[in-house]
């Protein structure tokens, strides 16, 4: 205890000042209630990062201060004022509290009983259910405040606060005393007063008073007054005996958002930027962070695709390209890079989506489809923290279809073939034969459920060990992760191992160095087609009376005999075990940066970043010799492809940031260069046996390689300006030079401008107490997109790139020229305007953010549709066509806090409308989706005036119920041509004659809807109840259409294959009340042609995640684990537990088969999403 602390007056001081507090500053209105709520919001991010999700612990404590907090003491106080309690604690323990009495409600009565308890625990109890947090700073000072330390602008100075030493002055010459108050007159408790140049000083008492006994030579000295969060004040003593000071509140750091090339305060942001917190990213058992943000960011659409390890389809604010994959630009720690699957979501500190042009145009020629900024974790200051996060779960198919069993199949097959005058398969009447030679079971005894064979329970697990720590010079974060997921269909899986180390070092006051590094490897086995058909399709079509395996065949699988069974499905398990087993993708990824930041002055910084992205991918394939009795491979086929990608980026950045009175100016200037090089090599060969799975001793060997390089040089400038935090202005410009375009076309300029008005800062708004903050924003800007090949403008001879076997020798090579270049090729150019507002009501209880935008893309890159007769095999790309997306986005938040039950609810909603404005020619159409197994007609059409890739086909007009109806229809036209075709019979579908010419042909097709949702939404409810925590996360889309190819497989009846039970309801003269047409093999009426018969509502609402966790109290743990484990949280979680949809296929989340363009929303039997149930544990070690 300081010997200078003499006053023992512990009469607290709050009540008399309280009245004066109101209306002194707008900020302080209704202070107590409101601050509490703000506090809840503010602490959420930091707290969660520090203490882990739903840790159930009230307050964060920088670990290096544990010693201060671990002091044990006993108290027995009944109904005492808080300030008295604090004073008593100061007396018993070696601590000093700093606080504003009014803020912590120092007059509040508390009771506390403690018997040899840690200070930490006592403080936990005292401030439980209040917004006040306690944090240790300096050597033994504890700040009691609603605002976390890290949010104070001068937090870096905390460590350099003067150390006050006990002064031993034999004979004090004179005494200085006084009061330290804030500008409301509120006394400041725990403020420090130090004589400049010495360690002599004092700490203000519970009334804000201090007393200093000084030597004579200090009469002309200077006192330094400081308090965390307030501006430090120097006052000359000038021989005075009383020095009273008023400290001005310093700036509290605003919530900061990562924008391109820097950060910006959320309050002064003028662009549309959405942040996703770490909490959201780690909440789901997913392989990549893109999957985790599904439904969390309005305007970002994410559709999961295919088996484990497949990238989901990510679209920001609609679709911006037709011929290119309109992927957003991902910038990871400042490096534009791909390979998101390699990044452990738990390593992500924050993810920002730059949605409008004013935010994104800083990335110029690559930003037209949005930008996603990913920032990985940094080390934390303080004691080393070790965390282990693990989960293990099981996935399963959440839905199967009703398919025919053996007897139904035989009945159906008989009807189908008889109707087309084909013989009934011989097997049907001869099932009492063994399923293979020597088998003990017969076909009659076999009834295989192929869905049962092909769907399995599959494990998923994830483990991550992370270490974080540091001091005021160096900070390090490192982690080691392992993720493994098996698919719900056989022989599909994905594994990832990742290692990360990030560090930064404050070498000098003016110099910071740092690095990030990711090293990851992964392995994937994907589902494979059999005969061009998906695993699902082969599963649905496989004959029920057929055995799963057949040991008499080479390879162990058999399939039907074409003559005897009159069908030739692929055994799906053979595909899995023989085609998938040894077709493996391996990847190695290194992604790292080195950065230097030099502070010339407080307002001018230089930053240099060197980044490198290295990715090596390898695909090995071994396809074995087999013979299933119908198909076979007589010679094993091997191939190996390797691709090496290396990209470097160098960024030089100057940042100027200075305030001139109320004018706050921030300017950045950037010069940047990125080079990328991609090399690939592939080799293949054949082997006469299945013994060796590498390219050794092969026949028919082949090898080839390719090299591709590109460079981008960029100059970027950005100005942000605000006047008094009220009027906001932003402007940026980027000039990009790309090697992908012809000379004269290489350079492009991408400007943007934005304005904002924080209405709530205006004086006339102060009286509207319901509105806490309100900001209006508007922006406009241009971005480009250049995801074309590196050399697309250049025409080229493909030298020696084909073979013709003169004299039956395969060594005669040929050279050809099959594509014109286009020296006029340029960027797709997007202009986007955005208006929005951010509103916070009732002291932050409600938050609303809304945006409306218009996004127009000109110069769409399309392949010029060339006449066939020109003879070029591939068309040059040209900038023709335009497209528009307009949209509305809404994000809502609500927070609830009570004694035991705290929760928050956030909702997102967005709608976007896409329209193609023009294509290469006014009447041009781009058709897609044609597949002979699905009717053989195009399924989507892209045409000006319609949304991209709208479904296009015929409309069903019912079923012909009699031959007379068919005849009547045939009589409609003038030319004696049949209405549909000559084979149309009763029971066939009648299509609508839209042009009324009495016959059905191509001109009777129409647009049948779009795969794009009318709107999509997400709802996230999470919170804590005592030691329990919970999260419910719902995601959905509404109003989208799916072309249900699974229904074509199930009830299309194109040929004899197994089918869904729908076919049992096929039209017959006795069963006329049905929408399933007659069963006839060959589909002579083309009932399966693209029509609204197969268009279904794709809306779904999905409980994406539901989880409940429990955190064990830390005290108990420390005792039990001998102080090793500080935190244990266990949880159970389920992904896709419930899905509400009318869609009748396997899964409504239908992306695009093979990631093809223009076939989104067509379900060709894609790999369905799984339902997962898992158990997890988070451990924190001391």
């Amino acid at each position: 205890m300081s010997p200078l602390r003499q006053e023992q007056n512990i009469t607290c001081c709050l009540s008399q000042n309280f009245i004066n507090l109101t209306n002194i500053r707008g900020m302080k209105k209704n202070l107590l209630h409101r601050e509490k709520l703000l506090q809840l919001m503010r602490i959420s991010l930091a707290q969660i990062i520090l203490a882990g999700l739903f840790a159930g612990m009230g307050y964060a404590h920088p670990a290096f201060s544990q010693k201060v907090l671990l002091q044990k003491l006993s108290l027995n106080l009944e109904d005492k004022k808080l300030c008295e309690v604090l004073f008593l604690i100061e007396k018993k323990a070696d601590v000093r509290f700093s606080y504003l009495p009014k803020q912590i409600e120092a007059d509040r009565k508390v009771s506390i009983q403690a018997e040899d308890e840690s200070l930490e625990k006592i403080l936990d109890r005292v401030f439980k259910k209040t917004p006040i947090r306690y944090e240790v700073f300096g050597s033994k000072q504890i700040l009691l405040s609603k605002t976390p330390l890290e949010r104070y602008e001068q937090q870096q100075d905390l460590e350099s606060l003067p150390k006050i030493q006990p002064i031993i002055i034999q004979k004090p010459d004179f005494r200085v005393q006084g009061t330290v108050t804030d500008n409301t007159g509120e006394p400041m408790v725990g403020a420090s007063v130090v004589l400049e140049g010495t360690t002599q000083g004092a700490i203000t008492d519970a009334n804000g008073k201090y007393t200093l006994d000084l030597a004579d030579d200090a009469r002309n000295g200077t006192l330094i007054f400081s308090f965390v969060g307030y501006t430090t004040l120097r006052v000359a003593i000038d021989g005075r005996a009383t020095v009273n000071v008023v400290l001005e509140e310093g700036k509290v750091l605003d919530e900061v958002v990562v924008v391109g090339y820097g950060t910006q305060k959320k309050s002064s942001l003028t662009g549309a930027v959405s942040s996703v917190s770490q909490k959201d990213l780690k909440a789901l058992p997913v392989i990549s962070l893109t999957q985790a943000i599904q439904g969390r960011v309005p305007g970002v659409s994410i559709t999961n695709n295919s088996s484990p390890g497949a990238d989901p389809i990510v679209r920001i604010r609609g679709i911006g390209s037709i011929s290119l994959n309109p992927n957003p630009l991902f910038v990871i720690d400042g490096v534009p890079a791909g390979g998101l699957n390699n990044i452990d979501p738990k390593d992500i500190e924050s993810l920002e989506v730059l949605k409008d042009a004013s935010a994104a145009s800083i990335y110029g020629s690559r930003a037209a489809n949005g930008v996603v900024l990913i920032t990985t974790k940094k080390g934390s200051v303080g004691k080393i923290k070790v965390n282990l996060d693990s989960y293990y779960g099981v996935q399963s198919a959440w839905k199967t279809l009703d398919l025919l069993n053996r007897d139904e199949y035989i009945r159906y097959g008989t009807a189908l073939l008889t109707a087309s005058n084909q013989p009934v398969p011989g097997r049907f009447s001869n099932l009492n034969t063994p399923v293979y030679e020597g088998a003990s079971t017969t076909f009659a005894q076999t009834d295989t459920d192929w869905q049962d064979v092909m769907f399995r329970s599959a494990p998923i697990m994830d483990h991550q060990l992370s270490i974080s720590g540091g001091n005021d010079v160096s900070r390090v974060y490192t982690s080691l992760g392992y993720f493994s997921q098996d698919g719900i269909m056989p022989v599909t899986d994905y594994q990832r191992q990742s290692f990360r180390i990030n560090s930064d070092h404050k070498v000098a006051k003016w110099l910071t160095l740092g690095q990030t590094l990711l090293v990851a490897t992964d392995k994937r086995r994907a589902e494979r087609d059999g005969g061009g058909r998906s695993l699902i399709m082969n599963t649905m079509r496989m004959t029920p009376y057929w055995p799963v395996r057949d040991p008499t065949k080479i390879g162990g699988f058999s399939t039907t005999a074409q003559g005897l069974d009159a069908t030739d499905p692929e055994n799906p398990l053979r595909i899995a075990e023989q085609e998938q087993q040894d077709q493996i993708n391996y990847g190695v990824k290194l992604l790292g940066t080195f950065f230097t930041e030099v502070k010339f002055t407080n307002w001018l910084k230089y930053r240099f970043v060197a980044g490198a992205d290295f990715a090596n991918s390898q695909f090995t394939s071994f396809l074995p010799i087999y013979n299933d009795g119908n198909r076979s491979r007589v010679i094993a086929s091997l191939s190996e492809n390797r691709n090496e990608f290396f990209s470097t980026v160098f960024t030089n950045q100057l940042t100027f940031d200075k305030s001139f009175g109320n004018h706050n100016v921030n300017v950045i200037a950037v010069a940047e260069k990125q080079d990328a090089k991609s090399e690939s090599i592939s080799a293949s060969g054949q082997r006469p046996d299945n013994n060796i799975k590498v390219l050794q001793g092969v026949s028919n060997p082949n090898g080839s390689s390719s090299l591709s390089e590109n460079s981008l040089i960029s100059y970027v400038g950005r100005l942000t300006y605000d006047y008094a935090g009220k009027y906001l202005l932003g402007a940026s410009i980027r000039r990009d030079g790309s090697s992908k375009f012809a000379p004269g076309r290489k350079w492009g300029i991408f400007p943007s401008a934005s304005v904002g008005w924080r209405i709530s800062e205006e004086s006339f708004m102060k009286s509207i107490t319901a509105i806490t903050s309100l900001k209006l924003r508007a922006s406009i800007g241009q971005t480009g997109y250049n995801a074309i090949g590196d050399y697309d403008w250049q025409p080229l001879i493909s030298a020696n790139n084909t073979i013709y076997p003169f004299g039956n020798t395969t060594t005669n090579l040929g050279s050809y020229f099959n594509r014109l270049g286009n020296t006029g090729l340029s960027w797709e150019e997007t202009t986007m305007s955005n208006i929005g507002f951010d509103l916070s009501l009732s002291q932050g209880r409600f938050d609303i953010s809304a945006e409306y935008y218009k996004r127009k893309t000109d110069g769409l890159l399309l392949s010029v549709p060339l006449p066939e007769s020109l003879g070029f095999s591939s068309s040059p790309l040209a900038n023709v066509g335009s497209m528009q997306n307009t949209g509305f986005e809404l994000a809502l938040g609500y927070n609830h806090r009570s004694a035991d039950f705290n929760w928050s609810l956030t909702g997102t909603f967005d709608m976007v409308r896409n329209k193609v404005l023009s294509l290469a020619t006014p009447n041009a159409t781009i058709n897609s989706g044609n597949n002979a197994d699905f009717g053989g007609f195009d399924i989507t059409r892209t045409q000006a005036g319609q949304p991209i890739q709208s479904f296009y086909g015929w409309q069903v007009d019912g079923i012909f119920q009699s031959a007379a109806e068919v005849a009547a229809a045939n009589a409609l036209g003038n030319d004696n041509a049949p209405y549909q075709n000559a084979s149309t019979s009763a029971g066939d579908i009648r299509f609508k004659d839209l042009n009324g010419d009495g016959k059905i042909d191509g001109s009777d097709r129409t647009f049948l809807g779009s795969y794009l949702p009318k709107f999509s939404y997400g709802l996230n409810w999470g919170g804590t109840y005592k030691n329990f925590d919970f999260a419910v996360y719902i995601q959905g889309v509404n109003g989208n259409k799916i072309y249900n190819g699974v229904k074509v497989i199930g009830q299309g009846m194109l040929r004899l294959f197994n089918a869904s039970t729908d076919v049992l309801d096929a039209w017959t003269p006795q069963n006329t009340d049905t929408d399933v047409p007659r069963a006839v093999s060959g589909d002579p009426n083309q009932n399966t042609r693209t029509s609204d018969r197969f268009i279904e509502d794709g809306s779904y609402l999905r409980i994406k995640n539901i989880s409940i966790g429990y955190t064990f109290s830390s005290e108990g743990l420390k005792d039990v684990t001998n102080n090793v484990i500080s935190r244990v949280r266990v949880y159970v979680s389920s992904q896709n537990l419930l899905t509400f949809t009318k869609y009748t296929g396997f899964d409504p989340e239908v992306a695009s088969r093979g990631n093809n363009l223009l076939t989104n929303g067509i379900d060709y039997g894609q790999y369905p999403q799984a339902r997962t149930v898992l158990f997890g544990i988070n451990l924190g070690f001391n």
Binding site: G563, Y606, S637, L796, N801, P867, S869, L870
Partner: protein, 514 residues
Amino acid sequence: MKKIAFLTSIMILGLTLSCNDEVLNKVNPNGVTLDTYFNNDAELTAGVNAVYALVQHNGLVSREWFFTHDLRGDEMATGGGQLEAPRAQLLNGVNDAGNSVSNAVFTGWFRVIHRANVVIEAGAAAKPTISEAVRTRVVGEAKFLRAWAYYELGTLWGGVPIYTEYAKSVDGSKARSSQQDVYNVVISDLKAAETALPATYTAANLGRATKHAAQMLLARTYLQLGDYNNAKTELQKIVSSGLFKLVDNYLDLTNEEGEFNAESIFEVVYAPSGGAYNWGGDGDGTAVQEETVRTQEYSAVGWRNLIPSNKILNDYERASKGDAKDDPRYDMSYWKPGDKFNNGNSTMTDDRVQGNASVVDGKTVKISWRKYSVLYKIDNGFYTSGINMRIMRYADVLLMLAECENEAGNSAAAIALMNQVRARASVQMPPYPTSNYPCNNKDEILRALQHERFVELAAEQVRNFDILRWRKHKKLKSEPISFFVANKHELLPLPQTEIDNNPNIEQKDQNPGY
């Protein structure tokens, strides 16, 4: 000082690394540019090799080409539901301008023309770096291939756009010309090729177009035009060259072992590649995948997309119909139940044969094509093969010459030529006239000749051309195609994409009836 030095070096480093605009000039390293290529014998030869390679690709002779001809003749019937829709449409005459099969052929031939034009232009003028012999031959080959393309296009689609130079920009497309103009290009190209090309090649170059291939194609062109005199002249050149004769074994005409035999005039070459087939694009790439799917598509065991029509099966001379003997070519052209295949190790049973049955001689039986079927030596229906497609063979020369002689009124010469074909060692059919095929007049000889061509050249992509020219020149007693609608089915529709994308062709320029 230290600080300033450090800063300066960092900034200099940073700016040096980022500010060299030269890096934006990158040239594709994976190929060469047009102006630096075709400068020596090897490069010019590679240019024409690529034209052959295109003729061979999936869109042409490996697949769609034979389908288009076979589906439009009367030799074929559907194997069943497995025949894909666009093929079934052609077979039933309900194909439209969107038909993917005929459109692929249209597109394929124009790509052949483009590649040939590149070679013809590159080899147009003498260059010191190119030997004159190679230049002459390569340009001759390119002209032969271009002529073949225009012959097919002109015959199947009528007057198509004519390009004798490749398009230098995307707007270089042309309007339709007349069918006669197309044939004029064919004739002039073939005359040039006839002069430029050698009569024979070394073993390593077998498969290149010869002088006689040019003559035979010229004869075929004249026959399409009804010009029997000029056709006869060309055909006689082939006969008098003495290079060709009928081979003994009829099976050798469509199996792998009989490739490049004495009867062969022009073949599209396929080489065994371990089952590798290039389904996509233009068949390019350096992987060895030089097989054809002909055997797989029609395979008795397997897809069996097309089977012989009842009409052709019943056209063979047969003792039961009163002919002197069963025509041995029937057994050598079709697989029937009980046939041994796979070198005699497997037996054809109905269990293994999917799809429709035929009615032959009043009996219902599953019959499948044997020509080009590799089942004779393996037991695998899903197998591509290296069997060369015989585009031109000597028996056809003799039969065409017979037709010319008949038209000229030289009955004896015509009958003798036909009997030469019937006398093949493995066939040994009694000479015309026979009881069912009397040859007393021009008409009767023509009828015998049409029968003889039908069975001798069955499934060899000749029948469609024969029907087209006989129909046009009124040599048919009755229309052989059941769905035939006059003023429509003579020609195939231009692909809709050609009409949509060619600014010089409008919808009204489409062939009649589509």
